[in-house]
Amino acid sequence: MIKPTILAAGLAALLLAGPAGAQVRIAQLDGMSGPFSNVGEQQRRTLLSMIEEINAAGGVNGEKLELVTIDGKGSPQETLNAFKQATDQGIRYITQGNSSAVAAALVDAVGKYNRRNPDAPVVYFNHSGIDNDLTNGKCDFWHFRFDPNVDMKVGAIARELLQDKAVKSVYLINQNYALGQQFSASAKRILAEDGGGIEVVGDDLHPFGQVKDFSSYAAKIKESGADAVMTGNWGNDLSLLVKAINEAGLKTGIYTIYGSGFGAPTAIKENGVDTLKVMSLWLPNIPQDKSQAFADAYNKRYGQQLYFHQIRTMLQMFAQAARDAGSNDPLKVAQKLEGMQFDSDTGPALMRKEDHQIQVPMFLGTLKKTAASGGPAEVRYDAENTGVVGFQVDGKIAAADTAKPTTCNMKRPF
């Protein structure tokens, strides 16, 4: 009869000891297995680092934050299963951003769940899924996006191109899937609308992750005589494109939204110096960077450069909203969060009330050799720990200048 006693005593001790204070659990539902698991892992590390920072400062309203990662495997169906697991455990905050297709499924599922459980709603923080629809036609009260959408990023690039008087024509080349198609359509519309007279001289959609030799695309870009290239490509499709353009002897700027991550700087290195440009929420060489200490600690801890800066802003804003509300209740936090102005590390930010789309400063960077490798002095930090190349910050676009109109007709549940 000893064993049951020990078990019972152990169980009682566990129950009594428990966590010191109550916990606010946040479920991360990004894909943690499969081809993009390294991205999911990078996001998990950023979430974890931020949660530790908030907890070290006392948590929110006397409660500590806790991260629960449930593998959504990058697919909408699997992520909905993961979502169910999260709600079964009583988790009221979820986050995901690896895929806009998954995000759309989650927005839908969260909406349904909250209609059935009006007393225990769930809030969805989307950290990186940038499909326009999520804050336009498909917008939802329970969804908050902390990354500018495709239109805003393309708009920010178009704004920079207009200021660069030398650019009269652009060539669009994109991966043939949802994001690439939206990037291409968005670029054509925004360049035509803003009246700067920049002509689109090429518009290629190439198969996603299938092209081994981009030299023919480079030849085509060269023949078109375009002054700049705009692309939503990422990963290998971006690395190979930049290498091919460099091999073809072209010196045109390649304007990207993912050029500073996903292995691109590692694979491109010197091939993209002076040509590879990125429109980003944060870059390591921003002057008087308030995120520097956090980024340094992250790099030291994981041997990897910080990329998902939006996750930092996301959790900072969440903590602030909860403190303002004086409660960790999802509905109260959501009500504080919408329309909230926040002094983020990179400048004033706004969670727009109409569509729950963040408005936050963006930075244009150009790949240069690092100061240590003979590049400009301000390129102190390299990109992706390559050691040889890093992004020089060319300009900052204030949050207000990135705003785009929305068609969102938000239905509020109260």
Binding site: N176, P207, V211, K212
Partner: protein, 317 residues
């Protein structure tokens, strides 16, 4: 005009690299009757081995050492794996290499991680070899072409013109006779397998700076290699050569043309008649169709010549 010349050269270098890669596969098949599904995996191992060795020994020594190391690994695989499975027939061999492909992919992820590793073109080979009417042709691509042609010429001469080649060929058709003459036939097969794998590794090592070295690279190139050897006729080196170049040219040139059936009709007959073709399917341009081309060409050729371009009738898969 310069676009056409540069694209031809790019297509040629891509085609030759493809040949270097598929030559090992077709060599192994023609000599041993084994369709090695792990071939693309050895290609990837070659790229990673060259990356790691390159960090310590430098680019050029790594280019030699990596294929040797991976080739030696291939010989071990033959000696302690394939040879045992051989007794159970070709299906068992096929399944064995199929499983091996997955093991290699997972091992690479465990050892080198999931993110790409940087493997740049060495300083001595960067820059342009020459310019065609203002368009530079990269020196590295020229180097890849030279390596491919050189190695394959060496291989061809070894098989057809030397005593070693004679024994290999004889071991294929008359293994008992060759054994009776005092040659170690299993060792011949082991060597052939090792050389085939080393060729894949060399293609990986030499081709890596042109592409991205990451764990999905085997998966990405695998189907194309099979298209090459099926199209060329399984087991035919000459066929693989023709098929590689054909695919290189077809893919690179298709990208240049933004023509679609709808656009053609619009230009020829005006909007009225073209309206009949105004569907998504007919709006697909040749450029968008490019990645499908290898598979379409393969299916078409197989319909007309089931044995492939240069295969012997009845020897096809």
């Amino acid at each position: 005009m310069s676009t056409l010349i540069i694209t031809s050269l790019n297509a040629l270098s891509f085609g030759l690299l493809l040949f270097l890669l598929s030559a090992g596969l077709t060599l192994i098949f023609s000599m041993m009757g084994v369709l090695n599904f792990a071939h693309a995996g050895f290609y990837m191992l070659g790229a990673y081995a060259a990356y790691t060795l390159g960090l310590h020994a430098g680019f050029f020594p790594a280019l030699v050492l990596a294929p040797l190391a991976v080739g030696a690994l291939g010989m071990l695989v033959e000696r302690f794996g394939l040879r045992k499975v051989h007794a159970y027939g070709h299906v068992a061999e096929l399944l064995f290499t199929f499983g091996l492909a997955f093991i290699i992919e997972e091992l690479v992820q465990l050892v080198w991680g999931k993110a790409p590793v940087g493997y740049p073109v060495p300083q001595a080979l960067s820059g342009a070899a020459f310019t065609v009417m203002g368009s530079p042709f990269p020196l590295y691509r020229l180097f890849v072409m030279a390596v491919s042609v050189g190695v394959l010429l060496l291989l061809y001469l070894t098989i057809t013109r030397t005593r070693t080649g004679l024994i290999i060929q004889a071991a294929l058709t008359h293994p008992r006779m060759v054994e009776a003459l005092g040659h170690n036939v299993p060792r011949v097969f082991m060597t052939v397998f090792g050389v085939g794998v080393a060729l894949a590794a060399l293609a990986g090592a030499v081709g890596a700076p042109m592409s991205v070295t990451e764990p999905a690279m085997a998966h990405a190139i695998g189907p194309i290699v099979f298209v090459v050897i099926v199209l060329g006729g399984i087991g035919s080196l000459k066929g693989a050569f023709i098929a590689s170049l054909l695919l290189g040219f077809a893919q690179n040139f298709a990208i240049l043309y933004d023509l679609s059936p709808y656009q053609l009709a619009l230009d020829a007959f005006g909007p009225g008649a073209a309206g009949m073709l105004d569907f998504e399917l007919f709006r697909i341009t040749i450029a968008q169709f490019a990645p499908l081309l290898p598979f379409v060409v393969m299916v078409l050729v197989l319909l007309v010549r089931p044995q492939g371009l240069c295969g012997r009738p009845g020897s096809g898969a």
